[in-house]
């Protein structure tokens, strides 16, 4: 077939597929031929295997597919299958009256693409073209023909045909290479952010400062093999998102609970203070917690209830900058499983610190908790997703770092929504924040180490936080892991204690939250 014919054939594939049918039984051969014609294939028949081989050898491109009977007098059908496969690399379908599995196995071993049992039904024949497609040679040919077609549209000149062929061959080669490359790209192993890796990441981020953290620098600082800038970049993004979220929540919390200065241990609450929305790798929340830890301790929650939020937010919302990173070792690297969970959505971390918390923020009283809860929830979600499963559910929200409020300011991040919703119990324990609050003041104090996290966040800012932050408080529980404000070593303890505190925290009463409007 000429090039044009080839192209035409390909266009209409599987119609016009060229089949060579071999069977010594005249009856069967005739029937097969008719059936194949009915499928609109182009059929050539022969009753001798030898003839078939000759036909095939004469022009390798003359046929797309071979169907051969197994029991033939002049040559064993299996041998024919083998030869055709070797010499011409064409798909061969075996045909036999035997349905004996041993025969089928033999056929497969000899390289048959398929094994049909007589009587052959037209339905079976209608699908045999799939074997042709499977052969990569065909695929490449299609590709190159299509490309050639585009390139030399309407060129029916002989030279053109030759040139096309040449180009086609080249294209085929290129395609092969490309495929190999792509395959290689696809096989890149996924990077798992282990605790150590995450710690390194945190250290690097800390070193350059959160606001200045760029993947390239972090990568250099981390000095890890097989880590690409892309890996770091995506990790950093997650980290930032988580931190932001935490910060938002924390900000909200801060307004509510001035006592939450001792956030450090508060898993969820800790986040409140720690607005160190540094999603530290898988332990994003851990990172957060860690950062929280270092947040200047504006421990007194009382401050939260003051009209302004300016807790001793040492860094005035410095969330990620300059804040000493919590000792990395305390950063719990969350389960790797969680690595890919969505981090809470933080709006740009570096954005203005005060993100108004949920608009639901009710400075006083009962409603106030929902934002808390939300924030906690978010944080929790994030933590859970990122960190180990030990994220305690803590209602305590450390004072949100003013800086980070913005993080939570945005509406619900999709991430949040998609992360473990399970970890949040919006409806759960946080139901009565007030109560919880009341009960948890102490725990809060215990846990909140970083008070300063709440930078001079105004309530307004808090209020501004988007509803997305709802989960903040809830999430904080999760965040706590990350936001353990306490010193490193105690992070685990804090987490654990937070865990136990969960229930009590959950009972914070909303009423106790004083939001300064």
């Amino acid at each position: 077939m000429t090039m044009e014919q080839d192209i035409e054939a390909m266009d209409q594939f599987p119609l016009g597929m060229r089949v060579l049918a071999v069977d010594d039984d005249q009856t069967c051969l005739r029937i097969l031929e008719t059936l194949l014609h009915r499928c609109q294939y182009h059929v050539t028949t022969t009753d001798k295997a030898q003839t078939a081989l000759e036909l095939l050898r004469e022009n390798k491109n003359k046929f797309d597919l071979v169907i051969s009977d197994v029991d033939m007098p002049d040559m064993d059908g299996f041998k024919l299958v083998e030869l055709v496969g070797l010499e011409m690399d064409l798909p061969v379908i075996m045909l036999s009256a035997h349905s004996d599995p041993k025969n089928v196995m033999k056929g497969v071993k000899h390289g048959a693409c398929d094994y049909l049992v007589k009587p052959v039904r037209i339905e079976e024949l209608k699908n045999i073209w799939q074997h042709v497609v499977r052969k990569s040679k065909f695929k490449k040919m299609i590709k190159s023909i299509v490309t050639t077609n585009c390139v030399s549209e309407g060129n029916s000149d002989q030279n053109g045909v030759r040139a096309n062929r040449k180009r086609k061959d080249q294209l085929e080669e290129e395609d092969e290479e490309q495929e190999e490359q792509e395959r290689g790209n696809e096989k890149k192993p996924r990077v798992i952010w282990t605790r150590e890796l995450h710690n390194k990441f945190l250290a690097a981020v800390d070193h350059v400062g959160v606001k200045n953290a760029v993947p390239k620098k972090i990568l250099e600082l981390m000095n890890v093999d097989n880590l690409t800038r892309e890996n770091v970049g995506s990790h950093l993004q997650k980290f930032r998102l988580a931190l932001k979220k935490i910060n938002n929540e924390a900000n909200q919390q801060a307004n509510l609970d001035s006592q939450f200065t001792q956030m450090s241990s508060l898993k969820g609450l800790g986040s409140f203070h720690h607005y160190r929305p540094i999603p530290l790798g898988s332990s994003q929340f851990h990172g957060g917690a860690a950062t929280m830890r270092h947040y200047p301790s504006n421990r007194t929650l009382a401050g939260m209830f003051s009209s302004s939020l300016p807790r001793n937010h040492n860094d005035g919302g410095y969330m990620l900058q300059g804040m000493p990173l919590p000792p990395l070792e305390t950063l719990h690297i969350a389960n790797n499983n969680n690595n890919n969970k969505a981090f809470p959505s933080f709006t740009s971390q570096q954005s203005s610190p005060l993100v108004s918390p949920n608009n639901h923020f009710v400075p006083e009283g009962h409603q106030g908790f929902s934002p808390h809860l939300e924030i906690n929830k978010r944080l929790e979600d994030w933590s859970n997703a990122v960190l180990s499963n030990n994220i305690p559910q803590s209602n305590l929200h450390s004072k949100p770092d003013a800086l980070e409020w913005n993080l939570f300011g945005n509406s619900t991040s999709p991430n949040l929504d998609t992360t473990n919703q399970t970890s949040f119990c919006r409806d759960t324990d946080f139901g009565s924040p007030n109560a919880a609050q009341a009960d948890s003041f102490d725990p809060l104090q215990m846990k909140q180490q970083h008070e300063n996290i709440l930078s001079p966040m105004t309530v307004a800012q808090l209020l501004r936080s988007s509803s997305g932050n709802e989960g903040l408080f809830m999430g904080q529980q999760k965040l706590e892991n990350g936001f353990m404000a306490s010193d490193t070593g105690s992070l685990d303890d804090i987490v654990n204690s937070m865990m136990t505190q969960e229930q009590s925290q959950a009972e914070f009463s909303e009423g106790d939250w004083v939001w300064v409007a």
Binding site: D25, T27, R30, L35, D71, A97
Partner: protein, 150 residues
């Protein structure tokens, strides 16, 4: 005239019903553009049949020197073609024939061979009648009835 046609048609139907589904499929193939397809295939089949039966009977002739391999190959082929054509009864005999072959039961083989011979001749006659009926219907101006054998 119509009654004659109707009668013929009825006869045709009866014949067809007594035949096999595969045969109907063959007929389907014919209807779509290859007018003599069925006739052609069926006559091929009958030719093959007689040839195979002859070969096998020669192989089974002398009791002391039976080439069961050849008999087996013949049976196999017969089985294939009969199933393709739709000659179910012939095919079924082939199955038992093969079993006799496997255990090298000459007597059994001979019996099966006889049966195969009988069956295929029966089929040939029936089909011949069917074709004749068809012709008569067509000549009488009627339509060949399509019978759905399920």
């Amino acid at each position: 005239m119509n009654t004659v046609v109707a009668q013929l048609q009825r006869q045709f139907q009866d014949y067809l019903v007594s035949l096999y589904q595969q045969f109907t499929e063959l007929r389907k193939l014919q209807d779509e553009g290859t007018p003599d397809f069925v006739a052609e295939v069926v006559s091929l089949f009958f030719d093959d049949c007689s040839k195979l039966i002859n070969t096998m009977s020669r192989s089974l002739e002398r009791p002391e020197n039976v080439d069961f391999k050849q008999v087996d190959s013949g049976v196999h082929q017969l089985k294939g073609s009969s199933s393709s054509v739709g000659a179910r009864r012939v095919k079924n005999v082939c199955i038992s024939f093969k079993e006799c072959c496997d255990v090298q039961n000459r007597e059994g083989c001979l019996r099966c061979l006889q049966q195969v011979d009988y069956e295929y001749k029966m089929l040939k006659t029936k089909l011949q009648d069917l074709f004749n009926l068809e012709q008569r219907i067509l000549q009488a101006g009627g339509m060949i009835p399509q019978v759905n054998i399920s």
